[in-house]
Amino acid sequence: MAKVLDNLRAWGLLALFSALFIGPLTVMAGVNKPVLERGKGERCVEDTEFMRRNHMALLKHHRDETMRRGIRTTKHSLKGCVDCHASSKTGSVASTKEDFCMACHVYTGVKLDCWDCHATKPMKLYRPAATPGVAPQRVQQ
């Protein structure tokens, strides 16, 4: 009788371990593809297929044109991307893992540092920290 109980306990433990360790493995094998929220407007500035592969090249070219030569066209500007693709929930393109930029970049494991400097929200959501004519408070550290 004791042997039967031991056997049962052993099987029970085995089942528990499988639930703990094998379960997640099966889930990881099938990571969902990123789901992107549709941007504003009829269509993107270029074909979606083209943008998927080449958006970084367009942005890099445009950044140099704007920064170095002062060309401020909006077609391939990062601000333009943000204006159309900011999430309807967070208002941002990169504040959560579901937001437009992060969805694919998290999926592919490609780190991007655009948002260390650039605002992730459109201009209309920007609130200046300081009010005009009022001296900002000194932040104690």
Binding site: R68, G70, P122, A130, P132, G133, V139
Partner: protein
């Protein structure tokens, strides 16, 4: 031997040239509109080297306790306004006193947008750059944060961003690890507003101590003012040909 001795008619020739200049000036004057159109360039048009942006600061009108220009700059560019040793300051107010006479002067100090900028000379990556229209900028995409430019600048005009930033102005990207300084509000200039936040604030406060404009255009307010009275470059001995000039120092 001077040229005048060789040409006895020189005075007449000069008078003729002067008259010509007056006539040309009159002919150009109705073209003010034309000039305005040329200044507000199209978005696809690059900055032109025909323009050189500059600023003239009249220290006789600058009030010693006033820091409206500094606060306006902070608001426009999303700076915290804190003045600790590691905080960014793109423009700051200085009070100076002449050691012998005791004359006290108050003035704003900012990037002087030199024609021959030492920051650009020393930059090892080419991130420090001068745009065609004379605005000196930092290309943060290639700035490695070495801070040579901060040491090279005779005006202490540059700051380094030490901490991560959030909620930047979409028009003024800034971030940790890069050097930054006054941009002459390049986002406003490129929109065709042709003014800066500090100058607007100074005018709004009624001091009118700051003028912003095109140094290359003889009709511009700033060029006219510089023709009217003597102006000084800070550290003129360095022969950097600064874009920011001062009166009364």
């Amino acid at each position: 031997m001077s040229e005048q001795n060789l040409n006895p008619d020189n005075s007449e020739r000069r008078a003729f040239l002067k008259a010509g200049a007056v006539v040309t000036g009159a002919a150009v004057a109705p073209g003010v509109l034309l000039f305005g159109v040329a200044q507000a360039r199209a978005p696809e048009e690059p900055a032109s080297d025909k323009i050189r942006w500059g600023m003239l600061i009249d220290t006789t009108k600058c009030a010693s306790g006033c820091d409206d220009c500094v606060r306006a700059c902070n608001t426009e560019n999303g700076l915290s306004g804190a003045t600790g040793p590691q905080d960014s300051q793109w423009i700051r107010k200085l009070n100076i006193r002449h050691l012998k006479s005791g004359v006290e002067t108050s003035l704003p100090m900012l990037c002087q947008h030199c024609e021959h900028p030492p920051c650009v000379d020393v930059c090892p990556t080419g991130a420090s750059m001068k745009r065609a229209d004379g605005i000196v900028l930092v290309d943060r995409h290639i700035c490695i944060g070495c801070r040579y430019c901060m040491m090279a600048c005779p005006y202490k005009a540059r700051s380094f961003v030490h901490e991560p930033l959030t909620d930047q102005n979409p028009e003024v990207p800034r971030g940790k690890g890069c050097v930054e300084s006054c941009t002459f509000c390049v986002q406003k200039v490129d929109r065709g507003e042709n003014t800066t936040a500090c100058v607007e604030a100074c005018n709004a406060a009624g001091h009118k101590a700051m003028l912003f404009g095109d140094l290359n255009d003889p009709q511009s307010e700033i060029a006219q003012a510089m023709k009217t009275y003597a102006t000084t470059e800070v550290r003129a001995d360095l022969r950097l040909n600064t874009g920011v000039r001062y009166r009364g120092i």
